[in-house]
Subunit: 345 residues, 2 copies
Amino acid sequence: MIRTVQWADGKVRIIDQTKLPAQEVYLDIDDYQELARAIREMRIRGAPALGVAAAYGVALGAFQVQAATKEEFLAGLHDVISTIGATRPTARNLFWALERMQRVAEQAPDVGTARARLLSEALRMEREDEEINRAIGRHGAALILDGFRVLTHCNAGALATVAYGTALGVIRAAVEDGKRVHVYIDETRPLLQGSRLTAWELIQDGIPATLVTDNMAGHFLRRGQINCVVVGADRIAANGDVANKIGTYTLAVLAHENGVPFYVAAPTSTIDLSTATGDDIPIEERDPAEVTHLDGKQIAPEGITAANPAFDVTPHRYVSAIVTEKGVLRPPYGPALARAVSNEE
Amino acid sequence: MIRTVQWADGKVRIIDQTKLPAQEVYLDIDDYQELARAIREMRIRGAPALGVAAAYGVALGAFQVQAATKEEFLAGLHDVISTIGATRPTARNLFWALERMQRVAEQAPDVGTARARLLSEALRMEREDEEINRAIGRHGAALILDGFRVLTHCNAGALATVAYGTALGVIRAAVEDGKRVHVYIDETRPLLQGSRLTAWELIQDGIPATLVTDNMAGHFLRRGQINCVVVGADRIAANGDVANKIGTYTLAVLAHENGVPFYVAAPTSTIDLSTATGDDIPIEERDPAEVTHLDGKQIAPEGITAANPAFDVTPHRYVSAIVTEKGVLRPPYGPALARAVSNEE
């Protein structure tokens, strides 16, 4: 199975997701600013993968910072963390990873120890991510019955994590349990993570799937052809509101209207108890050219204005359950999320 | 203003909509089979435009049919009508036009008169279509208040009709009344009629607009940034259920959920009293390559299966009003539609 982000020969190795599915290109990155650029350009994306990539970025930066004292080191590391933190505002996991790395740096007695511990912390986060995804899969698989047709959006698969995936992890675990599952994949404009990445992963796994454009999902939900919806998350507010790839809110409303369960699969590192509700989550606005162009080719007339919010917010009332590595959380989400975060194993 | 379909120099002249917005290419067609192919390939599309194009196709075919007697002529014309009727199953206007032309042929005393009357009937339908659209616009403009942000889907503009448009006709009429209107345009995958055609029309008219991908509409509806939705229709069943471009149902549910009015603008020729409910409307399935490819370029991995329903059905309970040339119809739609159709002026 593919590894989206890993440490190899003293560098961070990522698969360049802007090139998939046409080409399988790996980038070896040894400079934190280059890594920040790769995140901004979405060569690596997906909230859990961004968390691990950010941790490796700090580890790289820790070796790049010139510092004689721990104070100088922490000042230099502050710039590293700020640079990486400025790439993408919505994914909670990115900030969660940066905060965790910051604490490791602060607690180290000296610069050399700090550098070593930062690298081993990032390595640990890489390892943990796959274990967490497999736990999410185990918990979530119970929600998928034999013969289910499952709709997913964007890519919450191996490519959005270190390996295995969150939403696709749930589907993979159900398939590993011997259940027959058919996946409907939203193509997910503008950047087509569904058709480019999720379709590619499912073909590799031999899991049957049907690709649809984003505006077709409602048609299949209305006709009773979808048994449940499973998506990932970029940030979950304290009340259970979920920020995820643009289009997720629409699916949640359509599922609700048609009596179809709507599940969110995410590690507890996606939960942000300091954000009270979805309205407090910053929504990244990306370049309108992603909408007016596809693969560099202009598809809309010259002079048209386009909007490009990369995420939307799904109010918690539409969310049937949140599947985490700690178990399946049900409403009321306030206490359930607080318990899941505080209950560190 | 552009004319989408017209009679010129003994031929049917259409603007090739597959080439827009990059190129403004006109096709002069003098063979009914070529016209049927142009309809199938969506060089001309939009229910009202298909009605007029189908009528011209029959007029062309009437001159192509070799016949010594009226019986031979009607038999030949039957093949012409079958060929044109087999192009696209959902748009009611296509069949409405074919039935109207059939009646004209049957009532003519001889072949020569039939040919002449068929051509003048098609010319009359071209002229009527623009008048009807302007009447739809006048009635619908009252629904659009000054400062409204109006969401539309696909293209229900001049390019979907002979001229002026249905949904865009309502918007144009509101603008002509001096109201400030900002249009949000769904790009409308897979064939991008929103970004290619609606955006092009609104730029030409100088009406301010923002292009969004189909999965963004929900985000803007939830945030209160849309005051109403206006779309066209391909067929309206006797109970008010509406078949329209795939994605319309999704917008209707999202509008309903957010308390935003959802309007359908269509001529009475789109109403099909012989179809009881939306479930009885045939939904055209198009080539999956339209989903896996864009502009001839493959955008999904080799081997993925794709679905491509071209339309969906919006149950009448989500429809706030149906704007026709006879006036604005409100629920209960059963009697309102029957009255609108029977009340021939």
